[in-house]
Symmetry: C2
Subunit: 408 residues, 2 copies
């Protein structure tokens, strides 16, 4: 029977999560992987390496969810208590699994590393579980079944967890539950705040059927919107998604979940064009965003970080008179920075930025310049936050203006 409501809880175990030493990225990956199967992540719970807390969490989450996925706590060190605890919780005893033992031995032999007793112990598994074989590490995953519910225990090391999930967990879940179909569509916009976009979409939201949900996902200067269709015909969702794209056409970056800097890379690559950047106030942040994309050397030639006036003059060739007459943070200097960068770097486009990011003697004021062989444009913004946030907001704004400049 098809179910609308197969719920899953992700339990992450480890003191390092609770004292803030580690940021949990496993849960997000698991959620993204289960979501297309129609499995709803009901709750995510992080707890410490403490027997009572783990048992309590199991008791509670088994009341709420059909699937429990536990990550972490399976390593060879003394503070990892999950395996014996799960064994006792489900009423079994630990036995040596010869297949896992041979695998662990092979794993160490291949790397010419001595094997400790703690490593051999990784092959001890509860006799009440199904072993989920770990080809890429030494800690096996485990599956326990109780009252039609599935309880998985996976290692915390991300690539081991991902391997076992893909190879074992997904097929097991798909053969056990017949679920709703969830489809997502994401649009990325830039240049308009959340509340203004929401205001434009009042009627659109009002007319959405009950099985399509709209979510707002804002970052500094960027706003993503996500439509989720639950058990819906894909064409019906796409019609609404097309409406959304039309309503937001003027601020749309992409009709898929993609970073602004990646989208710029795609456009430049397709056109066979290139870009160089002259940064003052952002001090390299825009360039580092552009170069965070694999393959960016195909279109990003490089740039100048002209943090002091001297650098603007000497390395970039901005005119001394322009600097003296208008000051470093001015429309005129932004124009000269962009034009000089374009000439020196011999690219299709150049982007410049100069400004104050901190409130002090001057108000926050940032000038952005754009140059091509035929056109020069400038924009002024006044980012309202602290130094770090203003740098990100100014960088995202500059990248979005660059994107529009390239597309024109």
């Amino acid at each position: 029977m098809k179910r609308n409501d197969v719920y899953c809880t992700i339990i992450t175990i480890g003191d390092e999560l609770l004292i803030g030493q580690t940021i949990d990225t496993n849960s997000a990956w698991i959620a993204q992987t289960l979501n297309p199967l129609g499995i709803q992540i009901k709750r995510r719970v992080a707890i410490g390496d403490c027997k009572a807390d783990i048992e309590y969490a199991l008791d509670e989450e088994l009341k709420l969810s059909d699937i429990i996925i536990i990550t972490g706590g399976l390593g060879p060190t003394a503070d990892d208590i999950t395996k014996p605890l799960l064994c006792a919780y489900f009423g079994g005893k630990l036995i040596m699994n010869e297949l896992v033992k041979a695998h662990v031995q092979h794993f160490f032999a291949k790397r010419n590393r001595p094997m400790l007793e703690s490593n051999t112990n990784q092959a001890m598994v509860p006799d009440v579980c199904e072993v989920l074989f770990n080809d890429v590490g030494t800690a096996p995953g485990m599956l326990f079944r109780k009252n039609d519910k599935l309880i998985f225990s996976l290692p915390g090391v991300p690539f081991e967890m991902k391997h076992i999930t893909t190879k074992h967990l997904l097929p097991i879940i798909q053969s056990h539950f017949v679920t709703n179909n969830f489809i997502h569509r994401t649009i990325v916009t830039a240049g308009e705040g959340e509340s203004f976009v929401a205001n434009r979409l009042i009627d659109f939201e009002k007319n959405l059927p009950h099985n399509i949900k709209l979510a707002y996902l804002p970052k500094l200067g960027i706003l993503k919107l996500r439509l989720t269709g639950i058990d819906i015909d894909e064409n019906e969702l796409d019609r609404k998604f097309n409406d959304l794209q039309e309503l937001l056409a003027d601020i749309m970056v992409a009709a898929e979940d993609i970073e602004l800097e990646k989208q710029i890379g795609i456009i430049l690559k397709n056109k066979g064009e290139s870009i160089a950047i002259a940064e003052s106030c952002t001090g390299g942040l825009i360039s580092s965003m552009i170069t965070s994309i694999s393959g960016s050397s195909a279109y990003f030639k490089g740039g100048v970080i002209a943090y002091q006036n001297e650098t603007k003059l000497e390395l970039l060739g901005v005119n001394t008179k322009t600097l003296q007459t208008y000051s470093a943070v001015s429309k005129e200097v932004a124009i000269e920075m962009a034009n000089q960068c374009l000439q020196k770097m011999n690219t299709t486009y150049a982007l410049s930025i100069t400004g104050y990011l901190e409130q002090g003697e001057c108000d926050n004021e940032v000038w952005i310049g754009l140059a091509s062989a035929t056109q020069t444009l400038t924009f002024k913004i006044s980012p309202p936050y602290n130094r770090q946030k203003n740098a990100v907001l100014a960088s995202n704004t500059a990248l979005n203006l660059l994107r529009k400049f390239i597309l024109k």
Copy 2:
């Protein structure tokens, strides 16, 4: 009465957390911030924008913890249901807070942006809460009290959450609970891995009294060690802290919790010296780290991002023959990049970096160059992770080598 066991649950609200679109970094920051006050994070629970689930989580966590911190769900859009829900949960009604309203109006007026009704609604607050004023955003924080327990609701935007936590939440918690006295001392090291440092500290750890704990806080290329004294005489902790500093003197960056790039700034400022940077593979990341520090224009002149060979030749003046003979990723090019940067920028020191950050045809290999008027040095590293992590590891390693070069 002094308590050893003040427990806190962090509840994060938002569908985007459950479908894996957003990774929660707020919880880690909150944990790190509350920990020194002797507050133990008992559980972290993530749930969706669903009334029943939020109420259930509140019911359950109030049984387990003394402090509940809720983040997220306070934005101006329709899917943010937390505020009215909390208002009803604690038996109050929403009223207009004139102070918050004036602040929101001022916030928009200053930015020359029109105000929507949804923005005005942000000034509606439950009459049963204490408003935690938000100087840096429009959504106020809230504090509810119930049976000697504290329930905080904070906006999910990280810098707003941090502001309200520091300004309001910490003093309120400190005046409400008398906890053990926790004193922390942190040392920052760089250049040696966690297990190697742990190996050097076996005897030191063995001889620590029961009320001093040692924690390892590793980041890419950086390792912080924190001593925590629980109800201890400050001098006793400082004696152990001095021992730790002596044991790790060769790899110590600072005997306080400070960023590497900030420490470099302090040293350069004190010496009245300056630095310029020529980056290839890191694409601006090192410069953006240096310029993330307020006041860095006093010692950072700027730099060149020589992402393509052409830029290394033309803008930086690296010799064509050197590039052809040794290739862009070589000791020789790193030396020339550093020396050319030093001359062109006329600084006391120059740092250069060129390499491969991704495994592909070539192995990861990164060359770091350092130059002053009297000396040139190079170092080679082989960062083992993915592109993003390797960029951070290479940048931290380069900055640490620069620090040692300056101090020599």
